[in-house]
């Protein structure tokens, strides 16, 4: 299975070049909007790309102005970096020659470009994929398959037929088309790996039998940590305390200018971490926990119950002093943030309460995001404008992507009448 991976490059901007870089980003954005920037598309493995500036004048006040380039891509990082350094070399030169340490004009070649990109990488602490294993190629193929079958469904010939008859006829029509030859290739399913939870539970029980003091100690450490966090840290926290109406107009306008142009949107947030080892350890433990659940449980298109996210990532930048959060999602900001509160308020609270000015929390998981007005204001306050955003399939929601894979898988199987009915309801 070809995996989807996050690439994040962070490069300090050369002094005096910030305006030039902003202008360049603006020009790329305009070209992209007018379909005159084919380079992301040309790579062939990029689902999403974004460019933005970590600006030292933003609310988070990072120590340096930096350019961020990020992609969600298929395959190995090695191949991806090579692709960028070769197929996109002109754009890479234009962008990064305005950053510190980029090879001088006479010294630029594939190897030196690649080395620079590799040096600028920042690893993600956690990365979520809404359709695991689905390459860009597969997503597009399956979309065409769905459209083809949907067109067949519109014919007035199906009344009175059983679902299995319709399914069989549709399959014959698909397989008669050479362009759908690939349908016969099996693709892996993505089921929740319950076995991990069972193993964990058994391990805990076994530990309880063998030496219950270890188990009790672990529980005591976790509970003790939360109590310590509450009394020595949370009680001293300073929340932002603003309601949405109090956030600067210009700030919101800059964000909204690039929102709701398609049925999908982007979200970028840069937030200072709360100082101290305790907060760092807490957030690292939570990231480990997030990685575990993303790997075993959030494999069917929902991140903690949120059904609209294509990709999301968390990482630390600026020497660990800032948290960067990116996501690509379906629908509007209001819907997305509402989903955050409604469906995974506690999870978000636990992670983001380790960053500055988060609404008041209690014992890490309580309060926080559930303080709706203050949470929405905080989210907007630390959101930063995405300068350039590329999406390879703006016409598909993540539900569409996952539904299309189900269509493909069910099409080639022999289905019972009930299964065939489920299949036909996908259209």
């Amino acid at each position: 299975m070809i995996k989807q991976q996050p690439l994040t490059l962070v490069s300090p901007v050369r002094s005096g070049c910030l305006t030039q870089l902003s202008d360049l980003l603006r020009a790329i954005r305009t070209n992209l909007e007018h379909n005159q920037f084919p380079v992301f598309e040309a790579i062939g493995t990029i689902h999403y790309a974004r460019l933005l500036l970590l600006n030292s004048s933003s609310h988070a006040k990072p120590s340096k102005d930096s350019l961020v380039f990020s992609t969600d891509y298929d395959g190995s990082e090695d191949d991806h970096l090579t692709d960028l350094a070769t197929k996109m070399s002109g754009v890479i030169d234009d962008l990064f020659s305005l950053c510190e340490g980029y090879p001088a004009e006479g010294e630029r070649n594939t190897a030196s470009r690649r080395a620079f990109l590799a040096k600028s990488r920042v690893k993600s602490d956690a990365f979520y994929v809404g359709a695991p294993g689905r390459t860009l190629k597969q997503i597009r193929e399956e979309s065409r398959l769905r459209d083809f079958i949907w067109t067949q469904m519109k014919e007035p010939v199906w009344a009175g037929k059983t679902a299995t008859e319709v399914h069989r006829t549709v399959r014959e029509r698909v397989l008669a088309k050479p362009e759908f030859e690939w349908v016969k290739n099996e693709v892996p399913g993505h089921e929740i790996k319950w076995v991990y939870f069972v193993v964990l539970a058994l391990a805990a029980i076994a530990l309880g039998f063998l030496n219950y003091w270890i188990l009790i100690s672990i529980i005591l450490i976790v509970v003790g940590w939360l109590v310590m966090l509450h009394f020595f840290y949370e009680l001293k926290d300073k929340p932002l305390g603003l309601t949405p109406s109090r956030i600067s107009e210009a700030h919101i306008r800059a964000l909204e200018e690039y929102e709701d142009l398609h049925n999908q949107n982007q979200f970028s947030q840069l937030i200072p971490m709360k100082p101290g080892k305790v907060r760092t350890i807490t957030v690292n433990a939570l990231m480990l926990y997030a990685r575990f659940r993303i790997h075993v449980e959030f494999v069917k298109g929902k991140l903690m119950g949120i059904p609209t996210i294509h990709f999301a990532r968390w990482l630390k930048v600026d020497g660990g002093r800032q948290m960067l959060f990116f996501s690509n999602f379906d629908g509007s900001w209001q819907q997305y943030l509402g989903d955050f509160i409604d469906k995974s308020g506690w999870g978000l609270t636990a992670i983001f309460s380790n960053t500055e000015n988060f609404p008041v929390t209690r014992y890490l998981f309580w309060g926080g995001a559930y303080d709706e007005e203050h949470f929405l204001a905080w989210s907007r306050y630390y959101q930063i404008p995405t300068a350039v955003w590329y999406c390879a399939y703006p016409e598909l929601s993540i539900k569409n992507v996952n539904n299309n894979t189900c269509i493909r898988q069910e099409l080639v199987k022999d289905l019972t009448e009930a299964q065939a009915q489920v299949f036909l309801k996908r259209f």
């Binding site: 679902a163 949405p244 109406s245 007005e373 036909l424 309801k425 996908r426 259209f427």
Partner: protein, 461 residues
């Protein structure tokens, strides 16, 4: 009240306008009044409150949606106001129209009473420093019909603690509709506080959330008005065309059924979930229609999980999904849906006309003054309009906007606009949807308490 005249007013002299508002504030109809003859209510745009003299610092405490109004480029995208519905083509409230400041709403138990009331008010306007920009007349039609022929305004939230009775699913925390009370998140909604003291501030109550500031919003709300012209001819011509007999003649029953599938209720108001095949008022002509037409006691999750009775994409199932919100379970869905409800009070304008497959040509322009109340315009009205109506990916759908209020007149090249009617063995797909409504005007208003109205009148005094 049967007939209404809304006056769109522009303030030319704030001091005189303040005195007029002060005088009229005694006439404002409150929730505890039940007048039989006539009513008066008043609401303000952000420009209006500014014109009355509220300082910019205090203006900032109003929500941004309200301050910016309905016509910013971003809001245009959210609301789907493009082509003929674009704000530069509006007749009022748009970017080429005079600034609306005040909405003075006059109601009467019939047209004569309302017009007589207007005749009393009109001579006072000039001296009150108010210029009348436009009149928006509206009425309720027999059977509460709107012009496409459907009974309107059936499902309404009931404010918890108001003493009014209602279905459990419709009982919503007061803070969703009135500022100064807890909302469905159990927090106080963002409310316009007076952080920079001015005017007779002692009139105002303190902020319920405990900030110590005086609260201009308490017991007030936001009011959304959109004038939607309805193209009754196009609506029924489309339905007739998609359901005609083999010989090309109109199939009334199928046309009515298709339209009902798109609406989510039958013209009488009866819900599709209970009556998927035909309007029960027609099925049972000898029975009292009352038991069918106001029926709001239904849910979707268990009765119609696949949308075979009421399609997922229908106007009503989208804009109030009840216990079938996304793919959550029934209980969770109801909890989430409660956070996106509005109180609607539509008024009809133009010839009183209820369309049908055979009755589809009203005289002159007809339409609906969509009006709703909510404490959070972004999470309630705008969310419903964008996420549930305009957004074609609702639930598992691909290219299905709300067929009644979400279709684009000129979609982007290559974009399909469809309506899916779940059926077995295969669903029916209606393609090439048309837009049947045109936005002709609209604005966000602050609908203050009587106390806050009196306070606003003191700003220039």
């Amino acid at each position: 009240m049967q007939y209404s005249r809304y006056l769109l007013l522009h303030i030319t002299d704030a001091k005189a306008a303040g005195a007029f508002i002060q005088k009229q504030s005694d006439a404002i109809t409150s929730v505890t009044d039940y007048p039989e003859q006539r009513c008066l209510n008043i609401a303000f745009t952000a420009d209006g409150i500014r014109a009355l003299g509220l300082t910019e610092a205090n203006m900032q405490n109003f929500t941004r949606e309200f301050r910016e109004g309905m016509t910013t480029p971003h809001r245009q995208r959210l609301l789907g106001d493009f082509d003929s519905s674009a704000p530069d083509k509006w007749e009022w409230g748009g970017i080429n129209n005079d600034e609306v400041h005040i909405l003075l709403m006059l109601f009467g138990n019939n047209k004569d009473t309302t017009l007589a009331y207007y005749d009393e008010i009109r001579p006072q306007l000039n001296a009150a420093g108010l210029k009348e920009l436009r009149q928006l007349d509206g009425q309720t039609l027999p059977g509460n019909k709107e012009h496409f022929g459907y009974r309107d305004g059936i499902s309404q939230p009931v404010i918890k603690g108001s003493g009014r009775k209602g279905l459990l699913q419709n009982q919503i925390n007061a803070g969703e509709f009135i500022m100064g009370y807890q909302n469905e998140y159990d927090v106080y909604p963002d409310t316009p506080l007076v952080t920079q003291p001015q005017g007779n501030i002692n009139l105002l109550p303190e902020d319920a959330a405990g900030t110590g500031h005086k609260d201009l919003g308490r017991n007030g709300t936001y009011m959304v008005i959109r004038q939607l012209q309805q193209d009754v001819t196009a609506f029924w011509t489309f339905m007739n065309g998609q359901s005609k007999n083999a010989d090309g003649t109109v199939n009334e029953k199928e046309s009515r059924k298709l339209a009902a599938k798109m609406m989510g209720r039958w013209p009488s108001g009866a819900p599709l979930v209970k009556w998927p095949e035909e309007d029960p008022v027609l099925l049972f002509p000898n029975e009292d229609p009352a038991k069918f037409i106001d029926d709001d006691d239904f849910l979707y999750h268990d009765n119609d999980p696949d949308g075979l009775k009421c399609p997922f994409g229908s106007h009503l199932r989208r804009t109030n999904p009840r216990d079938s919100f996304e793919d959550n379970d029934a209980k969770e869905s109801l909890r989430l849906t409660r956070r996106h409800r509005i109180i609607r009070r539509a008024r009809l304008y133009g010839e009183p006309y209820a369309g049908s497959p055979t009755n589809l040509t009203p005289e002159g322009e007809v339409g609906l003054l969509f009006t709703c109340f909510n404490a959070d315009i972004s999470r309630q009205f705008e969310f419903i309009q964008y996420t549930w109506a305009n957004y074609p990916k609702f639930k598992q759908l691909y290219n299905d906007p709300d067929p009644i209020i979400g279709v684009r007149e000129q979609p982007a090249p290559g974009t399909e606009q469809n309506f899916t009617i779940p059926q077995e063995p295969v669903s029916r797909h209606i393609t090439g949807l048309q837009r049947f409504i045109t936005v002709k005007g609209g604005a966000y208003f602050f609908f203050p308490s009587i106390t806050a109205t009196r306070y606003l009148a003191t700003l220039m005094a």
